[in-house]
Amino acid sequence: MLQPRSPDELCALVEEERSLLPVGGGSKPALSSGKADSILIDVSQLTGVLEYTPEEYTITAQAGTPVKEVIEVLHEHGQYLPFDPPFAEAGATLGGTIAAGLSGVGRQRFGGVRDFILGVRLVSGMGEIITGGGKVVKNAAGFDIPKLMVGSLGRLGVLTEVTFKVFPRPQAFAMVRLQCRDFEEAVRTLVELNSRPFDLEGLELVPPDSVLLRIGGIREAFDVRLRNIEETLSIPMVRLSESEETDILRDLRNFSWRPAHHGLAKVAISPGRIDDLYELFQSINCHCRFGGGGCVAWVAYPHVEARDRLCDGLRIRNLAGLLLIGENDSPLLGNWEENTFLKRIRAALDPEDRFAAW
């Protein structure tokens, strides 16, 4: 595996090699293993926080910096990454989180990784170092290269530096479980909570019949806020202890609910698709969670046949998925294709196919 020690070394590699695939912490093996002919570039040496002034609400770090490290630095100053990048404990890096386009439980409150990325530096397929976006919280100058990198899977360039918007971390959090009668009621509850002015820091459906919700802010207001939610919904609410909350969050962020030897995929959905998808997942013996208020399904499948049926099921439903753990020719599942717009972009960024194919 190639291991550049600086962006300049990385540029030199890109100019020499082909079928390159950048790898961060390897926490999403389906995205970092590549194919037989792939040449892996380990960017873990490009690490460290470069600029952080808490009052600016921004942080700039090298792309190989572990998410965990950034979370700790921010925590010391009472701030956080509200989109809650997953796989932090498994060693996920900032660059890998952007390239995979992953957001966690916290995306419910202010949005996902696309809503917090402000600036990037990357090495293009031409071996140039490109700066896109900026380092301030508001910027409309130039094409939005940072957003293009979200979900780009290392196929458009290798990230070397990233800037995120960060927010003050709520003083306290609380989590409750809503015990619904059945799956249908759980889905209805999710939809209802989505359109109400409750400022939720997390809204997850744990099949078959639980809805988890998390709030944050000034602790003294929690009792009244939770009572308001309970009265609106008339569904029994169980307030979870701090240690229960910690366990549940760890479980969700690291996908430890995934049974051993199961593959894992993310599917971009909207709440209206949940019923139908749940049926599909059950019919092929998959485990699943619906996160972000029902905008994402996380699905764990038991074997290759289930994976293929999952792909077929997604294709029929005009949905796209991303493989995170498991094997497949491409990590892009279901109804995803490189459209004309993306083809033209890739022709400009990587005209000589230095990077691995989709």
Binding site: V137, L148, G217, R344
Partner: protein, 489 residues
Amino acid sequence: MSNEVRYFALMPAFDDLRALFPPGRFLESAAQLAPYESDGLTVFRVHPSAVVIPENQDEIIAAVKWCHREKVPFVARGSGTSLSGGSLPVEEGIVIALNRLNRVLRVDAAERIAIVEPGVINLKVSEAAAPHGLYFSPDPSSQSVCTIGGNLAFNSGGAHCLKYGMTSNHVLGIKVVLPDGELVNLGSSSLETVGPDLAGFFCGNEGLFGIALEITLRLLPKPACYRTVLASYDSLEKAGDAVSKVVSSGLLPGAMEIMDALAIEAAEKAVNAGYPMNAVAIIIVELDGEVPAVDAEFERLEAVIAETGATEVRVPQSEAERLTIWKGRKSAFSAVGRLSPDFLVQDGVVPRTRLGEALATIEQLGREHDIRVANVFHAGDGNLHPLILFDGSEEGALERAETVAGEILRLCIRLGGSITGEHGVGIEKKQYFSEMFSPTDVEFMRRIRDSIDPFQIANRGKMIPDGSAPALTAHGAHPLEKAGVISRE
């Protein structure tokens, strides 16, 4: 004004374009074209060869395909409120006016989305969503007239961007006609993405990637309540420090604004907002969210403000009072405009911790060039809006104003910020684009543009520097601005 048809429109190829539209929707006489020759940046004027007014997607696509075939540049235009000259026509090109595609096609409360046509007015989206307790967050000050298509193309902002993001953060899916007439669907109705975030990348393209035909927007639940405070200071610096204290307190206001004395005076004359007239600067801070949370946070905010040396602190006691404060703020720019026959406005961004330094330098620049500068800005995100006043009839005044404006942009770059927070680069800031980005970065963006639009027919000459720019002339305020409908911020 003559009715003669301009030279280019007499080319035989234009007959094919003319045939696509009934006479009332194909404009070619000088009198018909006049309203389209300029936009919110009135210092530039260019006559287009023709204006077409499609009423549906097929007509847009047909016009784009014609442009591609004939290599005639086109500029898509909504309400023409761009402050960077983004919808300024291209010489020898046509304007595709999108105002008639103004339907909100669907509001889905369960999915929290609205699907709209590009000519829909920004505020109409929130109006359509209101019965469901939802709203569309981006709120540029021109939101009562500007269109979603323009907001998307220029990634418009507003007063709530720090907490809620810009237009691109609220666009989920886009059906696009590329500059060669090909159709693509970018994104979806999901808040999540798989593969590169192409809808996000399309936003802010300044019309260079084609035209958005149908747009899926993310809606948010309208906050349960707002609590606002207005504090006065005897110096701009103290107001800036107060903002820093609020930011460091761990609170996350939905909006945080600063106005200086000139802006206060003008706003007060215009709408009687009840602003303190002896203040050198005021800040407006607003919290939003659930009632019990905001009540608790507001107590903390008041405690923070109490430590900032404010000469006066006002808390509106009713919704009507709160809205009056905002009315003053939102009309401040057009009001300041009344103090001067002409003005330029910039929207550069500086890191928030450098605000004090930036304001001091702006003041000094004004003094050096004998130009008055008023300041109203989104302090929460460091987005300046210096309003540079001048009289175009006075020889050399426009050039002096331009110099000050340019120096302010350079200052923003030097302090590590951006040349534009929400207006876009357009034609106006093109020359500063290559000061903010390196030659490699500019070349990279040019390569992307050329790959998507090899003949450069989509909004040619905008954003990416190419050496050409129409001459500057002073034309006074935009008619809508004079009427107090829009303002430059």
